[in-house]
Symmetry: C2
Subunit: 299 residues, 2 copies
Amino acid sequence: MSTLKLGYIGLGLMGKPMAQNLLKAGFPVVVHNRSRQKVEKLVRLGATAADNPAQVAERADIVFTNLPDTPDVLGVVLGENGVLAGAHPGMIFVDNSTIKPAASRQIYQRLAEIGVSSLDAPVSGGDIGAQQGTLSIMVGGDADALEKVMPAFMAIGKTVTHIGGPGTGQVAKACNQIMVAAQMLAMSELLIFAQKAGADPEKVVGAVRGGAAQCWTLDVKPQRLLAGNRAPGFRASLQSKDLNIVMETAREYGMSLPGAGLLAQLYAALCANGGGGLDNSGIIAVIEALNNTELKHSG
Amino acid sequence: MSTLKLGYIGLGLMGKPMAQNLLKAGFPVVVHNRSRQKVEKLVRLGATAADNPAQVAERADIVFTNLPDTPDVLGVVLGENGVLAGAHPGMIFVDNSTIKPAASRQIYQRLAEIGVSSLDAPVSGGDIGAQQGTLSIMVGGDADALEKVMPAFMAIGKTVTHIGGPGTGQVAKACNQIMVAAQMLAMSELLIFAQKAGADPEKVVGAVRGGAAQCWTLDVKPQRLLAGNRAPGFRASLQSKDLNIVMETAREYGMSLPGAGLLAQLYAALCANGGGGLDNSGIIAVIEALNNTELKHSG
Protein backbone atom coordinates (compact mmCIF):
# COMPACT_ATOMS: atom_id res chain seq x y z
CA MET A 1 0.00 0.00 0.00
CA SER A 2 1.49 3.33 -1.03
CA THR A 3 1.45 6.19 1.44
CA LEU A 4 -1.47 8.55 1.00
CA LYS A 5 -0.46 12.03 -0.10
CA LEU A 6 -2.45 14.59 1.85
CA GLY A 7 -3.30 18.25 1.32
CA TYR A 8 -4.42 20.66 4.03
CA ILE A 9 -5.97 24.05 3.30
CA GLY A 10 -6.68 26.45 6.17
CA LEU A 11 -4.05 26.51 8.91
CA GLY A 12 -5.94 28.35 11.64
CA LEU A 13 -6.44 27.57 15.33
CA MET A 14 -7.80 24.13 14.40
CA GLY A 15 -6.25 23.42 11.00
CA LYS A 16 -2.64 24.03 11.98
CA PRO A 17 -2.43 21.46 14.82
CA MET A 18 -4.46 18.98 12.74
CA ALA A 19 -2.02 19.31 9.81
CA GLN A 20 0.85 18.93 12.27
CA ASN A 21 -0.63 15.69 13.60
CA LEU A 22 -0.92 14.36 10.05
CA LEU A 23 2.77 15.18 9.49
CA LYS A 24 3.72 13.53 12.79
CA ALA A 25 1.86 10.38 11.73
CA GLY A 26 4.19 10.15 8.73
CA PHE A 27 1.96 11.40 5.92
CA PRO A 28 3.42 13.71 3.29
CA VAL A 29 1.32 16.91 3.51
CA VAL A 30 1.08 19.77 1.03
CA VAL A 31 -0.38 22.88 2.65
CA HIS A 32 -1.98 26.17 1.68
CA ASN A 33 -3.21 29.12 3.67
CA ARG A 34 -4.28 32.65 2.76
CA SER A 35 -1.65 34.15 5.06
CA ARG A 36 1.75 32.82 4.03
CA GLN A 37 3.28 32.99 7.53
CA LYS A 38 1.44 29.93 8.81
CA VAL A 39 2.49 27.94 5.73
CA GLU A 40 6.15 28.53 6.52
CA LYS A 41 5.77 27.18 10.04
CA LEU A 42 4.35 23.95 8.63
CA VAL A 43 7.08 23.77 5.95
CA ARG A 44 9.69 23.88 8.71
CA LEU A 45 7.94 20.81 10.17
CA GLY A 46 8.19 18.94 6.87
CA ALA A 47 5.19 20.05 4.81
CA THR A 48 5.48 21.34 1.27
CA ALA A 49 3.80 24.58 0.19
CA ALA A 50 1.33 25.13 -2.62
CA ASP A 51 0.36 28.49 -4.14
CA ASN A 52 -3.38 27.86 -4.24
CA PRO A 53 -6.06 25.21 -3.54
CA ALA A 54 -5.97 23.90 -7.12
CA GLN A 55 -2.27 23.15 -6.76
CA VAL A 56 -2.94 21.30 -3.49
CA ALA A 57 -5.58 19.19 -5.24
CA GLU A 58 -3.22 18.40 -8.14
CA ARG A 59 -0.62 16.98 -5.76
CA ALA A 60 -2.75 15.16 -3.15
CA ASP A 61 -4.87 12.00 -2.85
CA ILE A 62 -6.95 13.49 -0.04
CA VAL A 63 -7.53 17.24 0.32
CA PHE A 64 -8.68 18.63 3.67
CA THR A 65 -10.14 22.07 4.27
CA ASN A 66 -10.62 23.82 7.60
CA LEU A 67 -12.09 27.27 7.11
CA PRO A 68 -14.21 29.68 9.16
CA ASP A 69 -17.53 29.75 7.34
CA THR A 70 -19.65 28.47 4.45
CA PRO A 71 -18.63 31.14 1.87
CA ASP A 72 -14.94 30.46 2.59
CA VAL A 73 -15.33 26.76 1.82
CA LEU A 74 -17.46 27.37 -1.28
CA GLY A 75 -14.83 29.84 -2.55
CA VAL A 76 -11.87 27.56 -1.87
CA VAL A 77 -13.55 24.56 -3.51
CA LEU A 78 -15.56 26.05 -6.36
CA GLY A 79 -13.84 29.43 -6.91
CA GLU A 80 -10.91 30.47 -9.09
CA ASN A 81 -7.88 28.19 -8.62
CA GLY A 82 -10.09 26.18 -6.29
CA VAL A 83 -9.97 22.52 -5.31
CA LEU A 84 -12.39 21.65 -8.12
CA ALA A 85 -10.01 23.16 -10.71
CA GLY A 86 -7.12 20.93 -9.61
CA ALA A 87 -9.05 17.81 -8.64
CA HIS A 88 -8.53 14.48 -10.38
CA PRO A 89 -10.71 11.34 -10.48
CA GLY A 90 -10.15 9.21 -7.38
CA MET A 91 -9.23 12.16 -5.22
CA ILE A 92 -11.18 12.55 -1.98
CA PHE A 93 -12.22 15.91 -0.57
CA VAL A 94 -12.66 16.19 3.22
CA ASP A 95 -14.06 19.31 4.82
CA ASN A 96 -13.28 19.71 8.53
CA SER A 97 -15.02 23.10 8.64
CA THR A 98 -18.41 23.65 10.27
CA ILE A 99 -20.67 24.91 7.48
CA LYS A 100 -24.26 24.62 6.26
CA PRO A 101 -25.28 21.02 5.46
CA ALA A 102 -26.77 22.27 2.18
CA ALA A 103 -23.36 23.63 1.11
CA SER A 104 -21.72 20.28 1.92
CA ARG A 105 -24.31 18.54 -0.28
CA GLN A 106 -23.69 21.08 -3.06
CA ILE A 107 -19.94 20.43 -2.95
CA TYR A 108 -20.54 16.66 -2.87
CA GLN A 109 -22.63 16.91 -6.06
CA ARG A 110 -20.22 19.16 -7.96
CA LEU A 111 -17.20 17.02 -7.15
CA ALA A 112 -19.05 13.76 -7.84
CA GLU A 113 -19.58 14.97 -11.43
CA ILE A 114 -15.81 14.71 -12.01
CA GLY A 115 -15.32 11.46 -10.08
CA VAL A 116 -14.19 13.00 -6.80
CA SER A 117 -15.64 11.78 -3.48
CA SER A 118 -16.48 14.18 -0.65
CA LEU A 119 -16.85 13.85 3.07
CA ASP A 120 -18.19 16.53 5.38
CA ALA A 121 -16.26 15.90 8.58
CA PRO A 122 -16.68 18.67 11.16
CA VAL A 123 -15.00 18.12 14.49
CA SER A 124 -15.63 18.84 18.13
CA GLY A 125 -13.12 19.01 20.94
CA GLY A 126 -11.69 22.51 20.46
CA ASP A 127 -8.14 23.67 19.95
CA ILE A 128 -6.91 21.38 22.75
CA GLY A 129 -8.49 18.35 21.09
CA ALA A 130 -6.91 19.44 17.80
CA GLN A 131 -3.47 19.68 19.40
CA GLN A 132 -3.76 16.38 21.22
CA GLY A 133 -5.33 14.52 18.29
CA THR A 134 -8.38 13.62 20.37
CA LEU A 135 -11.12 15.25 18.29
CA SER A 136 -14.54 13.74 17.70
CA ILE A 137 -15.16 13.62 13.96
CA MET A 138 -18.73 13.53 12.59
CA VAL A 139 -18.77 12.25 9.04
CA GLY A 140 -21.31 12.57 6.23
CA GLY A 141 -20.70 10.94 2.84
CA ASP A 142 -19.97 7.56 1.32
CA ALA A 143 -18.63 4.67 3.41
CA ASP A 144 -15.95 3.65 0.87
CA ALA A 145 -14.49 7.16 0.88
CA LEU A 146 -14.51 7.17 4.68
CA GLU A 147 -12.67 3.85 4.73
CA LYS A 148 -9.88 5.32 2.60
CA VAL A 149 -9.60 8.45 4.76
CA MET A 150 -9.73 6.57 8.06
CA PRO A 151 -5.92 6.23 8.51
CA ALA A 152 -5.66 10.02 8.34
CA PHE A 153 -8.63 10.54 10.65
CA MET A 154 -6.99 8.30 13.24
CA ALA A 155 -4.06 10.75 13.36
CA ILE A 156 -6.29 13.72 14.22
CA GLY A 157 -9.21 12.24 16.16
CA LYS A 158 -10.19 9.78 18.84
CA THR A 159 -13.69 8.89 17.68
CA VAL A 160 -15.03 8.87 14.13
CA THR A 161 -18.79 8.48 13.65
CA HIS A 162 -20.25 7.88 10.20
CA ILE A 163 -23.65 9.56 10.49
CA GLY A 164 -24.98 9.00 6.97
CA GLY A 165 -25.03 10.58 3.51
CA PRO A 166 -23.53 13.92 2.44
CA GLY A 167 -24.33 16.80 4.81
CA THR A 168 -25.20 14.61 7.80
CA GLY A 169 -21.84 15.24 9.47
CA GLN A 170 -22.75 18.92 9.43
CA VAL A 171 -26.24 18.12 10.76
CA ALA A 172 -24.64 16.28 13.71
CA LYS A 173 -22.32 19.21 14.38
CA ALA A 174 -25.28 21.60 14.28
CA CYS A 175 -27.05 19.36 16.82
CA ASN A 176 -23.95 19.48 19.01
CA GLN A 177 -24.03 23.26 18.92
CA ILE A 178 -27.73 23.44 19.89
CA MET A 179 -26.91 21.55 23.11
CA VAL A 180 -23.64 23.35 23.86
CA ALA A 181 -25.17 26.82 23.43
CA ALA A 182 -28.21 25.85 25.52
CA GLN A 183 -25.92 24.76 28.36
CA MET A 184 -23.89 27.99 28.11
CA LEU A 185 -27.04 30.12 28.43
CA ALA A 186 -28.52 28.02 31.24
CA MET A 187 -25.21 28.13 33.13
CA SER A 188 -25.07 31.91 32.70
CA GLU A 189 -28.63 32.37 33.92
CA LEU A 190 -28.19 30.06 36.89
CA LEU A 191 -24.96 31.79 38.02
CA ILE A 192 -26.52 35.26 37.90
CA PHE A 193 -29.80 34.00 39.38
CA ALA A 194 -27.95 32.37 42.29
CA GLN A 195 -25.91 35.48 43.00
CA LYS A 196 -28.91 37.81 42.80
CA ALA A 197 -30.98 35.51 45.04
CA GLY A 198 -28.29 35.50 47.73
CA ALA A 199 -26.64 32.11 47.18
CA ASP A 200 -22.94 31.55 46.49
CA PRO A 201 -22.78 30.61 42.77
CA GLU A 202 -19.75 28.39 43.34
CA LYS A 203 -21.51 26.38 46.06
CA VAL A 204 -24.62 26.09 43.92
CA VAL A 205 -22.59 24.69 41.02
CA GLY A 206 -20.88 22.26 43.38
CA ALA A 207 -24.28 21.06 44.62
CA VAL A 208 -25.97 20.60 41.22
CA ARG A 209 -23.21 19.35 38.93
CA GLY A 210 -23.34 15.80 40.31
CA GLY A 211 -27.05 15.32 39.65
CA ALA A 212 -29.48 15.45 36.74
CA ALA A 213 -27.96 18.77 35.61
CA GLN A 214 -24.52 17.17 35.17
CA CYS A 215 -22.69 18.30 32.03
CA TRP A 216 -19.20 19.01 30.74
CA THR A 217 -20.12 22.70 30.65
CA LEU A 218 -20.81 22.82 34.42
CA ASP A 219 -17.72 20.72 35.07
CA VAL A 220 -15.38 23.14 33.28
CA LYS A 221 -16.77 26.62 32.64
CA PRO A 222 -18.08 28.07 35.94
CA GLN A 223 -14.68 27.93 37.60
CA ARG A 224 -13.21 29.93 34.72
CA LEU A 225 -16.00 32.53 34.83
CA LEU A 226 -15.75 32.78 38.62
CA ALA A 227 -12.02 33.42 38.23
CA GLY A 228 -12.80 36.24 35.79
CA ASN A 229 -11.51 34.31 32.77
CA ARG A 230 -13.56 34.77 29.58
CA ALA A 231 -10.79 34.09 27.06
CA PRO A 232 -11.45 31.42 24.41
CA GLY A 233 -11.57 28.33 24.26
CA PHE A 234 -14.22 28.32 21.60
CA ARG A 235 -14.96 31.82 20.38
CA ALA A 236 -18.46 33.27 20.83
CA SER A 237 -18.35 34.54 17.23
CA LEU A 238 -18.02 30.95 16.02
CA GLN A 239 -20.78 29.77 18.37
CA SER A 240 -22.93 32.53 16.86
CA LYS A 241 -22.01 31.47 13.32
CA ASP A 242 -22.87 27.85 14.14
CA LEU A 243 -26.26 28.84 15.58
CA ASN A 244 -26.93 30.77 12.38
CA ILE A 245 -26.19 27.55 10.46
CA VAL A 246 -28.76 25.79 12.67
CA MET A 247 -31.40 28.44 12.04
CA GLU A 248 -30.74 28.74 8.29
CA THR A 249 -30.99 24.97 7.98
CA ALA A 250 -34.15 24.97 10.10
CA ARG A 251 -35.64 27.56 7.74
CA GLU A 252 -34.63 25.44 4.75
CA TYR A 253 -36.69 22.57 6.21
CA GLY A 254 -39.52 24.82 7.42
CA MET A 255 -38.74 24.09 11.06
CA SER A 256 -39.57 25.98 14.25
CA LEU A 257 -36.89 25.74 16.95
CA PRO A 258 -37.77 28.28 19.66
CA GLY A 259 -34.86 27.41 21.94
CA ALA A 260 -32.20 27.53 19.24
CA GLY A 261 -33.81 30.69 17.86
CA LEU A 262 -33.44 32.46 21.20
CA LEU A 263 -29.85 31.22 21.51
CA ALA A 264 -29.01 32.58 18.05
CA GLN A 265 -30.49 35.96 19.00
CA LEU A 266 -28.62 36.20 22.30
CA TYR A 267 -25.29 35.23 20.73
CA ALA A 268 -25.98 37.85 18.03
CA ALA A 269 -26.47 40.38 20.85
CA LEU A 270 -23.18 39.32 22.41
CA CYS A 271 -21.36 39.82 19.10
CA ALA A 272 -23.15 43.13 18.41
CA ASN A 273 -21.81 44.37 21.74
CA GLY A 274 -18.22 43.50 20.92
CA GLY A 275 -18.14 40.13 22.70
CA GLY A 276 -17.46 37.91 19.68
CA GLY A 277 -13.86 37.39 20.75
CA LEU A 278 -14.83 36.03 24.16
CA ASP A 279 -15.19 32.35 24.98
CA ASN A 280 -18.65 30.97 24.18
CA SER A 281 -19.33 31.03 27.94
CA GLY A 282 -19.09 34.83 27.53
CA ILE A 283 -22.82 34.74 26.76
CA ILE A 284 -23.07 35.47 30.49
CA ALA A 285 -22.23 39.07 29.53
CA VAL A 286 -25.66 39.34 27.87
CA ILE A 287 -27.40 38.09 31.02
CA GLU A 288 -25.31 40.50 33.08
CA ALA A 289 -26.24 43.41 30.80
CA LEU A 290 -29.95 42.50 30.87
CA ASN A 291 -29.82 42.56 34.66
CA ASN A 292 -27.42 45.48 35.11
CA THR A 293 -25.19 43.29 37.27
CA GLU A 294 -21.87 41.47 37.13
CA LEU A 295 -20.80 38.02 38.25
CA LYS A 296 -18.44 38.52 41.18
CA HIS A 297 -14.95 37.08 40.86
CA SER A 298 -13.75 34.83 43.62
CA GLY A 299 -10.09 35.18 42.62
CA MET B 1 -26.75 10.28 72.87
CA SER B 2 -30.45 9.60 72.66
CA THR B 3 -31.94 8.52 69.35
CA LEU B 4 -33.52 11.36 67.40
CA LYS B 5 -37.29 11.06 67.03
CA LEU B 6 -38.29 11.94 63.49
CA GLY B 7 -41.54 13.01 61.86
CA TYR B 8 -42.32 12.76 58.14
CA ILE B 9 -45.25 14.55 56.49
CA GLY B 10 -46.04 13.85 52.83
CA LEU B 11 -45.61 10.26 51.74
CA GLY B 12 -45.71 10.66 47.97
CA LEU B 13 -43.41 9.35 45.23
CA MET B 14 -40.42 10.91 47.00
CA GLY B 15 -41.52 11.13 50.65
CA LYS B 16 -42.52 7.50 51.07
CA PRO B 17 -39.17 5.93 50.14
CA MET B 18 -37.32 8.64 52.08
CA ALA B 19 -39.38 7.89 55.23
CA GLN B 20 -38.71 4.19 54.65
CA ASN B 21 -34.96 4.80 54.52
CA LEU B 22 -35.15 6.71 57.81
CA LEU B 23 -36.96 3.75 59.37
CA LYS B 24 -34.40 1.31 57.94
CA ALA B 25 -31.61 3.39 59.48
CA GLY B 26 -33.17 2.77 62.89
CA PHE B 27 -34.87 6.08 63.61
CA PRO B 28 -38.34 6.08 65.19
CA VAL B 29 -40.57 7.88 62.67
CA VAL B 30 -44.04 9.32 63.18
CA VAL B 31 -45.80 9.90 59.86
CA HIS B 32 -48.71 11.84 58.42
CA ASN B 33 -50.23 12.02 54.98
CA ARG B 34 -53.46 13.49 53.59
CA SER B 35 -54.48 10.12 52.18
CA ARG B 36 -54.53 7.57 55.00
CA GLN B 37 -53.62 4.57 52.81
CA LYS B 38 -49.97 5.53 52.49
CA VAL B 39 -49.70 6.02 56.24
CA GLU B 40 -50.77 2.44 56.88
CA LYS B 41 -48.06 1.07 54.59
CA LEU B 42 -45.45 2.94 56.61
CA VAL B 43 -47.00 1.81 59.92
CA ARG B 44 -46.61 -1.80 58.78
CA LEU B 45 -42.89 -1.01 58.34
CA GLY B 46 -42.62 0.29 61.90
CA ALA B 47 -43.74 3.92 61.76
CA THR B 48 -46.36 5.37 64.08
CA ALA B 49 -49.27 7.42 62.71
CA ALA B 50 -50.31 10.95 63.65
CA ASP B 51 -53.65 12.59 62.87
CA ASN B 52 -52.27 15.92 61.72
CA PRO B 53 -49.02 17.89 61.30
CA ALA B 54 -49.33 19.47 64.77
CA GLN B 55 -49.36 16.01 66.34
CA VAL B 56 -46.26 15.03 64.36
CA ALA B 57 -44.49 18.14 65.65
CA GLU B 58 -45.49 17.43 69.25
CA ARG B 59 -43.90 13.99 69.12
CA ALA B 60 -40.73 14.58 67.05
CA ASP B 61 -37.32 16.25 67.39
CA ILE B 62 -37.02 16.77 63.65
CA VAL B 63 -40.05 17.18 61.37
CA PHE B 64 -39.66 16.63 57.64
CA THR B 65 -42.13 17.70 54.95
CA ASN B 66 -42.21 16.59 51.33
CA LEU B 67 -45.12 18.19 49.49
CA PRO B 68 -45.91 19.12 45.89
CA ASP B 69 -45.92 22.92 45.92
CA THR B 70 -45.45 26.12 47.90
CA PRO B 71 -49.09 26.51 49.11
CA ASP B 72 -49.08 22.90 50.39
CA VAL B 73 -46.02 23.54 52.55
CA LEU B 74 -47.30 26.89 53.83
CA GLY B 75 -50.62 25.22 54.73
CA VAL B 76 -49.04 22.24 56.51
CA VAL B 77 -46.65 24.45 58.50
CA LEU B 78 -48.65 27.62 59.22
CA GLY B 79 -52.26 26.42 58.78
CA GLU B 80 -54.75 24.89 61.21
CA ASN B 81 -53.25 21.96 63.14
CA GLY B 82 -50.05 22.74 61.36
CA VAL B 83 -46.42 22.10 62.33
CA LEU B 84 -46.20 25.55 63.96
CA ALA B 85 -49.14 24.71 66.26
CA GLY B 86 -47.41 21.60 67.62
CA ALA B 87 -43.80 22.78 67.53
CA HIS B 88 -41.69 23.10 70.64
CA PRO B 89 -38.43 24.98 71.27
CA GLY B 90 -35.42 22.98 70.10
CA MET B 91 -37.38 21.21 67.37
CA ILE B 92 -35.95 21.39 63.86
CA PHE B 93 -38.13 21.71 60.77
CA VAL B 94 -36.74 20.32 57.51
CA ASP B 95 -38.54 20.85 54.20
CA ASN B 96 -37.56 18.42 51.42
CA SER B 97 -40.12 19.98 49.04
CA THR B 98 -39.15 22.19 46.12
CA ILE B 99 -40.84 25.53 46.77
CA LYS B 100 -40.24 29.25 46.41
CA PRO B 101 -37.14 30.46 48.29
CA ALA B 102 -39.22 33.34 49.67
CA ALA B 103 -41.64 30.88 51.28
CA SER B 104 -38.76 28.99 52.88
CA ARG B 105 -37.49 32.27 54.35
CA GLN B 106 -40.99 33.10 55.61
CA ILE B 107 -41.25 29.73 57.37
CA TYR B 108 -37.76 30.16 58.81
CA GLN B 109 -38.76 33.51 60.34
CA ARG B 110 -42.08 32.33 61.75
CA LEU B 111 -40.58 29.23 63.37
CA ALA B 112 -37.53 31.12 64.66
CA GLU B 113 -39.91 33.29 66.69
CA ILE B 114 -40.80 30.25 68.81
CA GLY B 115 -37.27 28.85 69.03
CA VAL B 116 -37.59 26.33 66.19
CA SER B 117 -34.83 26.02 63.56
CA SER B 118 -35.63 25.47 59.88
CA LEU B 119 -33.74 24.02 56.97
CA ASP B 120 -34.87 24.17 53.36
CA ALA B 121 -33.48 20.94 51.95
CA PRO B 122 -34.79 20.15 48.46
CA VAL B 123 -33.35 17.09 46.80
CA SER B 124 -32.38 15.93 43.35
CA GLY B 125 -31.99 12.40 42.09
CA GLY B 126 -35.60 11.44 41.42
CA ASP B 127 -37.67 8.56 42.73
CA ILE B 128 -34.82 6.11 42.11
CA GLY B 129 -32.44 8.23 44.18
CA ALA B 130 -35.11 8.42 46.90
CA GLN B 131 -35.48 4.63 46.94
CA GLN B 132 -31.76 3.96 46.94
CA GLY B 133 -30.93 6.69 49.45
CA THR B 134 -28.58 8.39 47.00
CA LEU B 135 -30.20 11.82 46.75
CA SER B 136 -28.30 15.08 46.52
CA ILE B 137 -29.54 17.39 49.24
CA MET B 138 -29.17 21.17 48.90
CA VAL B 139 -29.48 22.86 52.26
CA GLY B 140 -30.28 26.43 53.27
CA GLY B 141 -30.36 27.46 56.93
CA ASP B 142 -28.15 27.48 60.02
CA ALA B 143 -25.07 25.26 60.27
CA ASP B 144 -25.82 24.07 63.82
CA ALA B 145 -29.28 22.84 62.80
CA LEU B 146 -27.75 21.07 59.79
CA GLU B 147 -25.22 19.37 62.05
CA LYS B 148 -28.03 17.94 64.19
CA VAL B 149 -30.00 16.74 61.15
CA MET B 150 -26.97 15.26 59.39
CA PRO B 151 -27.40 11.68 60.76
CA ALA B 152 -30.88 11.59 59.24
CA PHE B 153 -29.71 13.15 55.95
CA MET B 154 -27.06 10.43 55.64
CA ALA B 155 -29.88 7.84 55.60
CA ILE B 156 -31.63 9.46 52.62
CA GLY B 157 -28.87 11.07 50.59
CA LYS B 158 -25.38 10.62 49.25
CA THR B 159 -24.23 14.25 49.13
CA VAL B 160 -25.32 17.10 51.38
CA THR B 161 -24.29 20.63 50.42
CA HIS B 162 -24.80 23.52 52.80
CA ILE B 163 -25.37 26.41 50.38
CA GLY B 164 -25.99 29.24 52.86
CA GLY B 165 -28.75 30.96 54.82
CA PRO B 166 -32.49 30.20 54.70
CA GLY B 167 -33.89 29.84 51.18
CA THR B 168 -30.55 29.17 49.50
CA GLY B 169 -31.21 25.43 49.26
CA GLN B 170 -34.28 26.32 47.22
CA VAL B 171 -32.21 28.74 45.13
CA ALA B 172 -29.77 25.92 44.32
CA LYS B 173 -32.64 23.59 43.38
CA ALA B 174 -34.10 26.31 41.13
CA CYS B 175 -30.67 26.64 39.47
CA ASN B 176 -30.61 22.88 38.96
CA GLN B 177 -33.97 23.07 37.22
CA ILE B 178 -32.86 25.87 34.88
CA MET B 179 -30.09 23.61 33.58
CA VAL B 180 -32.14 20.41 33.47
CA ALA B 181 -35.02 22.02 31.56
CA ALA B 182 -32.60 23.71 29.13
CA GLN B 183 -31.02 20.33 28.35
CA MET B 184 -34.46 18.73 27.85
CA LEU B 185 -35.47 21.39 25.33
CA ALA B 186 -32.12 21.34 23.51
CA MET B 187 -32.24 17.54 23.32
CA SER B 188 -35.77 17.69 21.92
CA GLU B 189 -34.85 20.26 19.31
CA LEU B 190 -31.71 18.44 18.24
CA LEU B 191 -33.52 15.10 17.85
CA ILE B 192 -36.28 16.61 15.69
CA PHE B 193 -33.79 18.78 13.77
CA ALA B 194 -31.60 15.75 13.02
CA GLN B 195 -34.54 13.66 11.83
CA LYS B 196 -35.97 16.45 9.67
CA ALA B 197 -32.55 17.22 8.14
CA GLY B 198 -32.08 13.58 7.14
CA ALA B 199 -29.70 12.31 9.83
CA ASP B 200 -30.36 9.35 12.14
CA PRO B 201 -31.07 10.93 15.57
CA GLU B 202 -29.58 7.94 17.39
CA LYS B 203 -26.29 8.18 15.47
CA VAL B 204 -26.18 11.92 16.04
CA VAL B 205 -26.60 11.46 19.79
CA GLY B 206 -23.90 8.81 19.76
CA ALA B 207 -21.53 11.21 17.99
CA VAL B 208 -22.12 14.27 20.16
CA ARG B 209 -22.58 12.88 23.68
CA GLY B 210 -18.85 12.27 24.19
CA GLY B 211 -17.86 15.88 23.43
CA ALA B 212 -18.57 19.38 24.69
CA ALA B 213 -22.33 18.63 24.64
CA GLN B 214 -21.90 15.77 27.13
CA CYS B 215 -24.59 15.63 29.81
CA TRP B 216 -26.57 13.16 31.90
CA THR B 217 -29.65 14.10 29.87
CA LEU B 218 -28.06 12.95 26.56
CA ASP B 219 -26.67 9.86 28.30
CA VAL B 220 -30.08 8.69 29.51
CA LYS B 221 -33.08 10.29 27.83
CA PRO B 222 -32.72 9.94 24.03
CA GLN B 223 -32.70 6.13 24.15
CA ARG B 224 -36.00 6.23 26.09
CA LEU B 225 -37.59 8.70 23.66
CA LEU B 226 -36.33 6.72 20.66
CA ALA B 227 -37.92 3.61 22.18
CA GLY B 228 -41.23 5.51 22.46
CA ASN B 229 -41.06 5.73 26.25
CA ARG B 230 -42.28 9.04 27.70
CA ALA B 231 -43.33 7.77 31.13
CA PRO B 232 -41.89 9.52 34.19
CA GLY B 233 -39.21 9.62 35.76
CA PHE B 234 -39.66 13.23 36.73
CA ARG B 235 -43.08 14.54 35.76
CA ALA B 236 -43.36 17.43 33.31
CA SER B 237 -45.97 19.07 35.57
CA LEU B 238 -43.35 19.27 38.34
CA GLN B 239 -40.71 20.57 35.92
CA SER B 240 -43.26 23.23 34.95
CA LYS B 241 -43.98 24.08 38.59
CA ASP B 242 -40.24 24.38 39.30
CA LEU B 243 -39.73 26.71 36.31
CA ASN B 244 -42.57 28.85 37.65
CA ILE B 245 -40.68 29.02 40.96
CA VAL B 246 -37.63 30.22 39.01
CA MET B 247 -39.61 32.90 37.19
CA GLU B 248 -41.56 34.08 40.26
CA THR B 249 -38.28 34.36 42.16
CA ALA B 250 -36.68 36.16 39.21
CA ARG B 251 -39.57 38.64 39.25
CA GLU B 252 -39.14 39.11 42.99
CA TYR B 253 -35.52 40.18 42.35
CA GLY B 254 -36.38 42.17 39.21
CA MET B 255 -34.43 39.76 37.02
CA SER B 256 -34.63 39.02 33.29
CA LEU B 257 -33.94 35.38 32.38
CA PRO B 258 -34.87 34.95 28.72
CA GLY B 259 -33.87 31.29 28.52
CA ALA B 260 -35.69 30.20 31.66
CA GLY B 261 -38.67 32.33 30.60
CA LEU B 262 -38.96 30.48 27.31
CA LEU B 263 -38.58 27.13 29.09
CA ALA B 264 -41.39 28.05 31.52
CA GLN B 265 -43.64 28.97 28.59
CA LEU B 266 -42.96 25.78 26.63
CA TYR B 267 -43.52 23.56 29.68
CA ALA B 268 -46.77 25.49 30.29
CA ALA B 269 -47.75 24.64 26.70
CA LEU B 270 -46.95 20.98 27.31
CA CYS B 271 -49.16 20.94 30.41
CA ALA B 272 -51.93 22.93 28.68
CA ASN B 273 -51.98 20.21 26.03
CA GLY B 274 -52.40 17.40 28.54
CA GLY B 275 -48.74 16.43 28.74
CA GLY B 276 -48.15 17.19 32.42
CA GLY B 277 -48.10 13.50 33.30
CA LEU B 278 -45.29 12.74 30.85
CA ASP B 279 -41.63 12.59 31.80
CA ASN B 280 -39.91 16.00 31.68
CA SER B 281 -38.28 14.83 28.41
CA GLY B 282 -41.86 14.87 27.05
CA ILE B 283 -41.22 18.54 26.19
CA ILE B 284 -40.28 17.03 22.81
CA ALA B 285 -44.06 16.81 22.21
CA VAL B 286 -44.17 20.62 22.00
CA ILE B 287 -41.37 20.66 19.41
CA GLU B 288 -43.15 17.89 17.50
CA ALA B 289 -46.42 19.84 17.56
CA LEU B 290 -44.73 23.07 16.42
CA ASN B 291 -43.28 21.16 13.47
CA ASN B 292 -46.22 18.89 12.74
CA THR B 293 -43.94 15.88 12.96
CA GLU B 294 -43.15 12.97 15.27
CA LEU B 295 -39.91 11.44 16.44
CA LYS B 296 -39.71 8.00 14.85
CA HIS B 297 -39.38 5.05 17.19
CA SER B 298 -36.56 2.65 16.57
CA GLY B 299 -38.19 -0.10 18.63
